[in-house]
């Protein structure tokens, strides 16, 4: 994944973890948490910079709505800041805040009355940036662009067809690359439950995306 660096984003990219690699070192998080507890807001700001991209991804793939994602993400970090005194360090800060984010997202989805809406107009960086897509010239070919947009729409619809529990494991494992063991800690379920939910979810998704699986 290529991240464009600019004057404004330099600080963000310094802390942005690669999607496919491990999370940041726990020692640095422990130091930041300790300082944030002592009232140093700048320390918590660094944690926000570190984890907002990954948490954004989790919330967005669960809600498929950018406006809801933005509001929910603000609430997640606000709650995490208020709850810092309750972080005992038994897990990494990453796991802890991820669990907070997941629970709040679940609560939000349950309360949401309307069906999740996905806005194609608000997609700034789509799957046409995937290496395979770029090689095939999808990014520059207008004729194929509509196919990509259709695929993106179908992917979101397929994800929304899953229950929250199944959507969560697909988001964490397939999209964000989080290991089964970590997912089980975040969701507070056994690894076996994680694996069975993934299996079931994949079966469901195959039904929705059959037309794209051969291409």
């Amino acid at each position: 994944m290529t991240v464009t660096k600019g004057a404004r984003s330099a600080k963000i990219t310094d802390f942005m973890p690669d999607e496919s690699t491990n999370r940041p070192a726990p020692d640095s998080d422990a130091d930041l948490v300790g300082r944030a507890r002592d009232g140093e807001m700048a320390a918590f700001d660094e944690l926000v910079v570190k984890y907002s991209p990954r948490l954004y991804g989790m919330v967005y793939h669960m809600t498929s709505n950018k406006e809801d994602t933005h509001d929910l993400l603000q609430d997640i970090f606000a709650k995490a800041y208020r709850s810092l005194s309750r972080f005992k360090g038994k897990s990494s800060f990453y796991t802890w805040i991820y669990a907070i984010g997941t629970n709040m997202t679940f609560n939000f989805l349950r309360k949401r009355k309307r069906r999740a809406t996905w806005s194609l107009d608000h997609v700034d960086s789509g799957i046409q940036n995937d290496e395979a897509m770029v090689d095939l010239g999808y990014a520059s070919n207008p004729r194929h662009q509509s196919d990509v947009n259709e695929l993106q729409k179908k992917l979101n619809e397929a994800m929304q067809s899953l229950s929250e529990d199944h959507r969560a494991v697909v988001t964490m494992y397939d999209i964000q690359g989080i290991p089964h063991a970590e997912i089980s800690k975040i969701l507070n379920v056994s690894e076996g439950t994680v694996r069975s939910r993934l299996f079931y979810a994949h079966k469901q998704l195959q039904g929705h995306l059959a037309e794209f699986m051969s291409s």
């Binding site: 994944m1 464009t4 600019g6 404004r8 984003s9 600080k11 963000i12 999607e19 807001m41 700001d45 926000v48 910079v49 907002s52 991209p53 954004y56 991804g57 967005y60 793939h61 950018k66 933005h70 993400l73 603000q74 970090f77 606000a78 800041y81 208020r82 709850s83 005194s85 309750r86 997609v123 700034d124 960086s125 789509g126 799957i127 046409q128 940036n129 995937d130 897509m133 695929l151 993106q152 992917l155 979101n156 994800m159 697909v170 397939d174 999209i175 964000q176 994949h202 998704l205 195959q206 995306l209 794209f212 699986m213």
Partner: protein, 120 residues
């Protein structure tokens, strides 16, 4: 490639769905601004916020303690609540306390009985 692998490959395409450039810088600024606003409004109710924060920090025991204190406050309130607007000020509503009047000369003294006991 198995069906499972195909579907995983499709889903992984969603990794590239990202917000616009500069979104996370703006996000941090908004978070900082929101925190400053909340801190400012919290100052006016600092005592209440601190109390709430203290209870939150206690976890489950905080809920138990808080419930107990709330119940005690309610009981005290009920016991000390005035009975009505008339209570306490209107003397005519005060309970009547019988006080025997000091002895006075009777208005209609009984007829004197001659000491001899003779009849009229």
């Amino acid at each position: 490639m198995t069906e499972e692998e195909k579907i995983q490959r499709l889903i992984r395409l969603k990794r590239h769905e990202k917000p616009r450039e500069g979104y996370f810088e703006d996000f941090l600024e908004e978070f900082q601004s929101r925190h400053e606003q909340e801190s400012g409004s919290a100052k006016s109710g600092a005592k209440t916020w601190s109390l709430a924060g203290w209870f939150r920090g206690k976890g489950t025991s905080g809920w138990v303690l808080g419930s107990g204190l709330a119940y005690a406050a309610l009981v005290i309130l009920i016991l000390w609540w005035p009975k009505g607007p008339e209570s306490g000020t209107d003397q005519s509503r005060q309970p009547v306390i019988y006080e025997p009047k000091p002895e006075q000369g009777p208005k209609n003294p009984p007829p004197e009985v001659p000491p001899s006991g003779k009849e009229f």
